[in-house]
Each structure stands twice: as C-alpha cells, then as structure tokens.
Amino acid sequence: MLMLPPYMLIEDPIPKAILAALFALAALMAGKRIRWGYFATLLASITLFHLLAPWGRVLLEIGPFAITEGALRNGLVRGITLIGMVFLSVAAVRPELKLPGRFGGLVGRTFYHFEAIIDGKGRLSRRDFFGSLDRLLLERFDPDRSDLSGDLPTDDAADSSAPSRRSPRPRRGIPWAAVAVLIPWLLWFVTMHGTG
C-alpha cells in the first residue's frame, strides 16, 4: 500500500502506465488471472467519456468530434489510475488473508461455508434451479440440525494475533518488497522534477 501514494500523485500518463504494467506483472506473478479485454474496454470507455468534454489543443477531428490533448490526457490518466489500483489490489489481497478478532472469525466461517457450497455447485440444475438450490442449501446447512458448529473453525482459529499460529515471515522477500515500493516513489520524484 506504500506504493499507492506516489502512484496516485503521478499525473503523467506514461510513467503511470509503466507502474500499472508493473502492478499487472505483480498480479500475474501472484498467480492471478487478468481479464485484459475487460480492462481494455474499461480504459477505452473512461477515455471516451472524457473526450466528450473537449479541452486543450485539438489533435484530430473526426467529423464534428474533436479529440483534444487535455481531454485525452485526463481520460488516460484517470483510466490508468483506476486500472492500476485494481492490479495492485489483486496482487496484494488474497482470500487466505487472516483477520484478527471476532470479525476475522466470522469471515473465516463465511469462507468455510462458501467453499462447502461451491463444492456442490455441480448439483444445480437449470431446469429446476429453485429446487436444486434449495436441496443444496439444506445439504450444506440444515438449520434443523441440533449442532451445526461442531466441525466449524472457531473464532480463535482465525485470530492471527495468536503467536503460535503465525507463520514465519519470509525475510528474503523484504529487499524485493523495498525495491518494489521505491520504484513508484522514484518515478514520482523524476516526473516532479521533469515537469518542474
């Protein structure tokens, strides 16, 4: 998250796009899939809406529609910013994230049930969607059963503050993390002095 402030402050689309590409690479290295078509469409639509409010030097005219430098720059910067934030978030956030306290325990239980329901998704029928969904839910969580919590993870199990449950932090990743945090700050510093 230390990478976010300089990323947000950079106003030049090119260094911003470089950082967004690095975030995308980080997401891919984290094993996540990126829907390139979706993000390309998102960037195009954000840019298009900004182009509808012309501002600055005219770059190109297509009939009555004028593509202006200021509007194009604003649209690209806004779109790349949002997409880069998603890439960074996708790279950094994992479903296995352990949260402390009662809320963490509740989230843990939620994902426990989620995995149980997902395991049974093959039983859903398009022809009898309501009936098949109802049967699946009864199978995975029958409210009339007297004891439902027997095999559920306890709230303490999701408490990451318990020292005995902490996994050892990988120290060898710290220099790489430091480099990753420095890159956006350096780019921001360079763009600040470049435009200054």
Binding site: S45, F49, A53, V86, R94, R109, D142, P143, L152
Partner: protein, 178 residues
C-alpha cells in the same frame, strides 16, 4: 448459532455472485445483483444489526475473493450495497404487507444505481458520463424487477429458508443461543 446463520448468508451471497459471473450479459457492465438475495430475503426476519453484518460480509468477502479490496471497486460496491439495503429496509418497513419483494428490490436497485452512477461521474468518467445515467437507471429497473421476482419465488418455495427463519428467531430470542 446466530453467527453461523449470518456466516452462511454471507457465503450464499458470495456463491450467488460467482453464479452471476457465469450468466451471459447483454451489456458488459450490467449486473443482476444475485448476491443481494440473502439481504432481500433477510429483511423479513433478520435484525438490523445482523443485516448490516451480512452486508459487510458480502462486500468484504467479494473484495477478498476478487482481490479488489484495496481499490475503488470495493468502495463502489460498499456504497451501492449500503444505499440499496438502506432503501430496501425503509421501503419494507414503511410498506409492510402492501409492498412485495418485487417493489422492495426495485427500490433497492434504483438506489444502488443512482449512488454508483454519481460515484462514477465524480471519480471515474467525468461530467459527460451523465449521458449513461438513463441507461444505468433503466437497466436497474429491469434487474430490480427480475431479482424481486426471483426472491418472491424463492421465499415461497424454499424449505431451507423457512427452517432458517425458524432457527434464527429461536436463536435471536432472549435466552436463545447466539
């Protein structure tokens, strides 16, 4: 027991979001809102605090599953779902038996759409994005009606929901297991 019920409703919300992802859409940003079903059916028996807990589990869980927890997507989802739940709860309380889940769902869908459109205009697309407001509101009318019909049908047919409501009421009653 109460916490198990809330956790399961949160999980159901995540599951329905995954199901909706598989449904082909005529417009790429159109969302049916299947993940809101637990909130919609929960209006009839969940206490306000528990409805909020399910809301948080839904939004937070989706942020974790999709990895968008630290991005604008999470904020949009939180704002839209909160506006939707607040509106649905108000319509449900004020309308009582005179408003079905179809009407409640429609109101919630409109509220969510308006809030998210306002956020999109302010933070994403700029002022010209007001052009998409009619499309966004129009699509939310359709999705609200569809979701409301789905919720009514589910509520009338589901044995699971009837059992869940019984169990929750006994757990939430004074002296019941929490």
């Amino acid at each position: 027991m109460r916490r198990d019920i809330l956790a399961f409703l949160g999980a159901l919300s995540l599951f329905l979001a995954a199901v909706e992802y598989l449904i082909p859409k005529p417009l790429p940003f159109l969302r049916l809102g299947l993940a809101n079903l637990p909130l919609l059916i929960g209006l009839g028996f969940l206490k306000p605090r528990d409805l909020l807990i399910v809301l948080v589990l839904k939004v937070f869980g989706q942020g974790l599953v999709n990895g968008t927890l630290a991005s604008y997507v999470f904020l949009f989802s939180l704002a839209g779902t909160t506006a939707s739940l607040g509106t649905m709860a108000a319509v449900h309380r004020l309308g009582g038996r005179h408003v079905s889940l179809i009407g409640v769902s429609l109101a919630g869908a409109l509220a969510s759409s308006l809030v998210q459109t306002a956020l999109a205009v302010t933070f994403v697309f700029g002022e010209t994005a007001r052009l998409i407001a009619p499309l966004s509101v129009g699509s939310s009318v359709v999705t609200g009606l569809v979701m409301g019909s789905f919720a009514e049908a589910f509520r009338s047919r589901s044995r699971w929901l009837a059992a869940l409501e019984r169990r929750y009421r006994s757990a939430a009653a004074p002296g019941g297991l929490s």
